[in-house]
Protein backbone atom coordinates (compact mmCIF):
# COMPACT_ATOMS: atom_id res chain seq x y z
CA UNK A 1 0.00 0.00 0.00
CA UNK A 2 3.00 2.28 0.63
CA UNK A 3 3.69 2.53 -3.08
CA UNK A 4 0.18 3.96 -3.58
CA UNK A 5 0.90 6.97 -1.38
CA UNK A 6 1.61 9.21 -4.36
CA UNK A 7 -1.75 8.27 -5.92
CA UNK A 8 -3.48 9.12 -2.65
CA UNK A 9 -1.60 12.41 -2.38
CA UNK A 10 -2.61 13.31 -5.94
CA UNK A 11 -6.21 13.02 -4.72
CA UNK A 12 -5.43 15.50 -1.93
CA UNK A 13 -5.18 12.92 0.83
CA UNK A 14 -2.50 11.01 2.70
CA UNK A 15 -1.92 7.65 4.33
CA UNK A 16 -0.80 6.46 7.76
CA UNK A 17 0.22 2.98 8.87
CA UNK A 18 -0.42 1.56 12.33
CA UNK A 19 1.18 -1.55 13.72
CA UNK A 20 1.67 -3.34 17.00
CA UNK A 21 4.99 -2.87 18.75
CA UNK A 22 5.86 -2.57 22.42
CA UNK A 23 8.99 -0.50 21.75
CA UNK A 24 10.18 2.28 19.45
CA UNK A 25 13.36 0.24 18.79
CA UNK A 26 11.37 -2.50 17.07
CA UNK A 27 9.53 0.11 15.03
CA UNK A 28 12.85 1.68 14.00
CA UNK A 29 14.22 -1.73 12.99
CA UNK A 30 11.12 -2.36 10.91
CA UNK A 31 11.54 0.99 9.16
CA UNK A 32 15.21 0.21 8.50
CA UNK A 33 14.17 -3.01 6.80
CA UNK A 34 11.39 -1.33 4.83
CA UNK A 35 12.86 1.90 3.50
CA UNK A 36 9.92 2.31 1.12
CA UNK A 37 7.71 3.17 4.11
CA UNK A 38 7.61 6.88 5.00
CA UNK A 39 9.01 7.06 8.56
CA UNK A 40 6.77 9.92 9.60
CA UNK A 41 3.64 8.01 8.59
CA UNK A 42 4.20 4.79 10.57
CA UNK A 43 3.01 4.47 14.16
CA UNK A 44 2.76 1.72 16.73
CA UNK A 45 0.10 0.81 19.24
CA UNK A 46 2.30 0.07 22.24
CA UNK A 47 -0.56 -0.36 24.70
CA UNK A 48 -0.80 -3.72 26.42
CA UNK A 49 -4.51 -3.80 25.57
CA UNK A 50 -4.17 -2.90 21.86
CA UNK A 51 -6.52 0.03 22.25
CA UNK A 52 -6.10 1.37 18.70
CA UNK A 53 -7.12 -1.98 17.25
CA UNK A 54 -9.99 -2.52 19.65
CA UNK A 55 -11.28 1.01 18.96
CA UNK A 56 -12.00 0.01 15.36
CA UNK A 57 -13.41 -3.42 16.17
CA UNK A 58 -10.65 -5.61 14.77
CA UNK A 59 -10.42 -9.04 16.29
CA UNK A 60 -7.83 -11.68 17.00
CA UNK A 61 -6.68 -14.55 14.85
CA UNK A 62 -8.36 -16.84 17.39
CA UNK A 63 -11.76 -15.23 16.62
CA UNK A 64 -11.68 -16.13 12.93
CA UNK A 65 -14.74 -17.95 11.65
CA UNK A 66 -13.53 -21.37 10.48
CA UNK A 67 -15.83 -21.10 7.45
CA UNK A 68 -13.90 -18.07 6.22
CA UNK A 69 -11.83 -19.09 3.23
CA UNK A 70 -10.17 -16.03 1.77
CA UNK A 71 -8.14 -16.42 -1.38
CA UNK A 72 -4.51 -15.92 -0.46
CA UNK A 73 -1.64 -15.01 -2.73
CA UNK A 74 2.01 -15.62 -1.88
CA UNK A 75 3.82 -12.45 -0.78
CA UNK A 76 6.02 -12.37 -3.86
CA UNK A 77 9.26 -12.21 -1.87
CA UNK A 78 12.61 -12.52 -3.59
CA UNK A 79 15.23 -14.77 -1.94
CA UNK A 80 16.75 -11.67 -0.40
CA UNK A 81 13.36 -10.59 0.99
CA UNK A 82 12.80 -14.02 2.51
CA UNK A 83 16.24 -13.96 4.13
CA UNK A 84 15.54 -10.50 5.54
CA UNK A 85 12.19 -11.71 6.85
CA UNK A 86 13.48 -14.92 8.45
CA UNK A 87 16.45 -13.28 10.10
CA UNK A 88 14.39 -10.47 11.62
CA UNK A 89 11.00 -11.96 12.43
CA UNK A 90 11.87 -12.67 16.07
CA UNK A 91 13.45 -9.24 16.63
CA UNK A 92 10.34 -7.55 15.25
CA UNK A 93 7.78 -9.70 17.07
CA UNK A 94 5.31 -7.73 19.19
CA UNK A 95 6.58 -9.16 22.45
CA UNK A 96 7.64 -6.92 25.30
CA UNK A 97 11.14 -8.08 26.28
CA UNK A 98 10.27 -7.46 29.94
CA UNK A 99 7.13 -9.56 29.85
CA UNK A 100 7.04 -13.21 30.92
CA UNK A 101 5.12 -15.27 28.40
CA UNK A 102 2.57 -17.85 29.43
CA UNK A 103 1.15 -18.48 25.95
CA UNK A 104 1.07 -16.92 22.50
CA UNK A 105 1.44 -13.15 22.95
CA UNK A 106 -1.76 -11.35 21.98
CA UNK A 107 0.22 -9.00 19.75
CA UNK A 108 0.95 -11.75 17.25
CA UNK A 109 -2.75 -12.63 17.09
CA UNK A 110 -4.10 -9.17 16.25
CA UNK A 111 -5.64 -8.74 12.80
CA UNK A 112 -5.45 -5.54 10.79
CA UNK A 113 -7.50 -3.74 8.18
CA UNK A 114 -7.82 -0.65 6.02
CA UNK A 115 -10.02 2.46 6.09
CA UNK A 116 -10.66 5.32 3.70
CA UNK A 117 -11.94 8.35 5.61
CA UNK A 118 -13.74 11.29 4.08
CA UNK A 119 -14.37 13.93 6.70
CA UNK A 120 -16.68 12.40 9.29
CA UNK A 121 -17.49 9.50 7.00
CA UNK A 122 -15.90 6.13 6.58
CA UNK A 123 -15.95 5.66 2.81
CA UNK A 124 -14.36 2.22 2.75
CA UNK A 125 -13.54 -0.34 5.41
CA UNK A 126 -11.79 -3.67 5.20
CA UNK A 127 -11.09 -6.11 8.02
CA UNK A 128 -8.41 -8.69 7.28
CA UNK A 129 -9.99 -12.13 7.69
CA UNK A 130 -6.58 -13.73 8.12
CA UNK A 131 -3.00 -12.45 8.07
CA UNK A 132 -2.20 -11.49 4.49
CA UNK A 133 -5.84 -11.26 3.39
CA UNK A 134 -5.65 -7.52 2.88
CA UNK A 135 -7.39 -5.54 0.14
CA UNK A 136 -5.91 -4.94 -3.27
CA UNK A 137 -4.17 -1.53 -3.06
CA UNK A 138 -5.86 -0.55 -6.34
CA UNK A 139 -9.25 -1.13 -4.71
CA UNK A 140 -8.33 1.20 -1.85
CA UNK A 141 -7.23 3.93 -4.27
CA UNK A 142 -10.42 3.41 -6.26
CA UNK A 143 -12.51 3.76 -3.10
CA UNK A 144 -10.61 6.96 -2.24
CA UNK A 145 -11.17 8.33 -5.75
CA UNK A 146 -14.88 7.57 -5.52
CA UNK A 147 -15.15 9.19 -2.10
CA UNK A 148 -12.96 12.23 -2.65
CA UNK A 149 -13.32 12.81 -6.36
CA UNK A 150 -10.29 13.63 -8.46
CA UNK A 151 -8.21 16.55 -7.11
Amino acid sequence: MANKRSDIQKLGGDIVFISVSPTAEKLQKFLELNPNLPKDRVFADNSKTFDAYKAVGFGNLTDVDKNTKPEMKPPGFSLQDWWKYITNVIALSPVDPNEKLTGPPEGVLRLGGTFVLSGNDIAYAWADALPGAHPEPEDVVKAATNAWGSA
Partner: protein, 120 residues
Amino acid sequence: MTAAAAFGARAAFARAAVVFSPSSPRVLRRNGRRSFFSASSGNTNTSAGECELVECEANFGADGDGDESAIIKACVARINGKEINASAMRNLTLLNSSGEMQKLPLTGDKDVVVYLRHLG
Protein backbone atom coordinates in the same frame (compact mmCIF):
# COMPACT_ATOMS: atom_id res chain seq x y z
CA MET B 1 -1.93 -6.89 7.19
CA THR B 2 1.45 -8.36 7.92
CA ALA B 3 4.87 -7.02 7.17
CA ALA B 4 4.51 -8.85 3.90
CA ALA B 5 1.97 -6.22 2.98
CA ALA B 6 4.59 -3.55 3.42
CA PHE B 7 6.67 -5.32 0.83
CA GLY B 8 3.80 -4.93 -1.61
CA ALA B 9 2.31 -8.39 -1.24
CA ARG B 10 -1.29 -8.68 -2.28
CA ALA B 11 -4.15 -10.98 -1.57
CA ALA B 12 -7.41 -11.29 -3.41
CA PHE B 13 -10.50 -11.96 -1.42
CA ALA B 14 -13.93 -13.32 -2.30
CA ARG B 15 -16.61 -10.72 -1.65
CA ALA B 16 -20.02 -11.54 -0.33
CA ALA B 17 -23.20 -10.51 -2.05
CA VAL B 18 -24.66 -7.06 -1.50
CA VAL B 19 -27.16 -7.03 1.32
CA PHE B 20 -29.57 -4.46 2.67
CA SER B 21 -29.49 -4.25 6.41
CA PRO B 22 -31.18 -1.33 8.14
CA SER B 23 -30.58 -1.13 11.87
CA SER B 24 -32.97 -0.02 14.58
CA PRO B 25 -33.00 3.63 15.59
CA ARG B 26 -31.16 4.30 18.82
CA VAL B 27 -31.27 7.14 21.28
CA LEU B 28 -28.00 8.82 22.24
CA ARG B 29 -27.27 11.76 24.51
CA ARG B 30 -24.95 14.70 23.91
CA ASN B 31 -24.66 17.49 26.48
CA GLY B 32 -27.73 16.10 28.18
CA ARG B 33 -29.82 16.46 25.05
CA ARG B 34 -31.57 13.56 23.49
CA SER B 35 -30.51 12.63 20.00
CA PHE B 36 -31.89 10.13 17.57
CA PHE B 37 -29.41 8.07 15.67
CA SER B 38 -30.71 5.90 12.90
CA ALA B 39 -29.13 3.84 10.18
CA SER B 40 -30.54 3.91 6.68
CA SER B 41 -28.70 1.42 4.52
CA GLY B 42 -25.76 -0.91 4.23
CA ASN B 43 -23.94 -2.16 1.19
CA THR B 44 -21.66 -5.14 1.69
CA ASN B 45 -20.83 -7.98 4.03
CA THR B 46 -19.37 -8.79 7.43
CA SER B 47 -16.12 -8.13 9.26
CA ALA B 48 -14.09 -10.45 7.05
CA GLY B 49 -13.08 -8.57 3.91
CA GLU B 50 -14.86 -5.44 2.81
CA CYS B 51 -17.05 -4.23 5.64
CA GLU B 52 -20.61 -3.08 5.67
CA LEU B 53 -21.07 0.68 5.61
CA VAL B 54 -24.11 2.27 7.16
CA GLU B 55 -25.30 5.83 6.85
CA CYS B 56 -26.34 7.22 10.20
CA GLU B 57 -28.22 10.36 11.05
CA ALA B 58 -27.86 12.08 14.41
CA ASN B 59 -30.42 14.72 15.27
CA PHE B 60 -29.07 16.77 18.14
CA GLY B 61 -31.35 19.13 20.01
CA ALA B 62 -34.58 17.76 18.62
CA ASP B 63 -36.35 17.44 21.96
CA GLY B 64 -38.01 20.84 22.04
CA ASP B 65 -35.55 22.70 24.28
CA GLY B 66 -35.57 25.75 22.01
CA ASP B 67 -32.32 25.10 20.20
CA GLU B 68 -32.34 24.53 16.50
CA SER B 69 -31.84 20.96 15.46
CA ALA B 70 -28.45 20.01 14.10
CA ILE B 71 -28.64 16.97 11.91
CA ILE B 72 -25.33 15.26 11.33
CA LYS B 73 -25.05 12.52 8.78
CA ALA B 74 -22.08 10.21 8.86
CA CYS B 75 -21.20 6.94 7.28
CA VAL B 76 -19.96 4.34 9.75
CA ALA B 77 -18.57 0.84 9.28
CA ARG B 78 -19.92 -2.21 11.00
CA ILE B 79 -17.04 -4.40 12.15
CA ASN B 80 -17.46 -7.44 14.35
CA GLY B 81 -20.83 -6.16 15.53
CA LYS B 82 -19.54 -2.69 16.42
CA GLU B 83 -20.33 0.51 14.56
CA ILE B 84 -17.07 2.32 13.94
CA ASN B 85 -16.94 5.98 13.00
CA ALA B 86 -14.09 8.08 11.67
CA SER B 87 -13.46 9.74 15.02
CA ALA B 88 -12.15 6.40 16.34
CA MET B 89 -9.08 7.08 14.20
CA ARG B 90 -8.98 10.87 14.13
CA ASN B 91 -8.28 11.08 17.85
CA LEU B 92 -5.63 8.36 18.13
CA THR B 93 -2.32 9.09 19.83
CA LEU B 94 0.33 6.45 19.15
CA LEU B 95 4.05 5.77 19.39
CA ASN B 96 6.15 7.28 16.61
CA SER B 97 9.56 6.04 15.45
CA SER B 98 11.31 8.57 17.69
CA GLY B 99 9.73 6.94 20.73
CA GLU B 100 7.31 9.79 21.39
CA MET B 101 3.55 9.63 21.68
CA GLN B 102 2.05 11.59 18.78
CA LYS B 103 -1.45 12.30 17.57
CA LEU B 104 -1.90 10.68 14.16
CA PRO B 105 -1.06 13.29 11.52
CA LEU B 106 -4.27 12.92 9.55
CA THR B 107 -5.43 15.58 7.12
CA GLY B 108 -8.76 15.62 8.93
CA ASP B 109 -10.58 15.14 5.65
CA LYS B 110 -9.05 12.74 3.11
CA ASP B 111 -7.19 9.95 4.87
CA VAL B 112 -6.28 6.33 4.36
CA VAL B 113 -5.50 4.44 7.57
CA VAL B 114 -3.86 1.02 7.27
CA TYR B 115 -3.68 -1.26 10.30
CA LEU B 116 -0.83 -3.70 9.77
CA ARG B 117 -1.05 -6.98 11.62
CA HIS B 118 2.30 -6.61 13.34
CA LEU B 119 5.85 -5.78 12.41
CA GLY B 120 7.32 -9.28 12.32
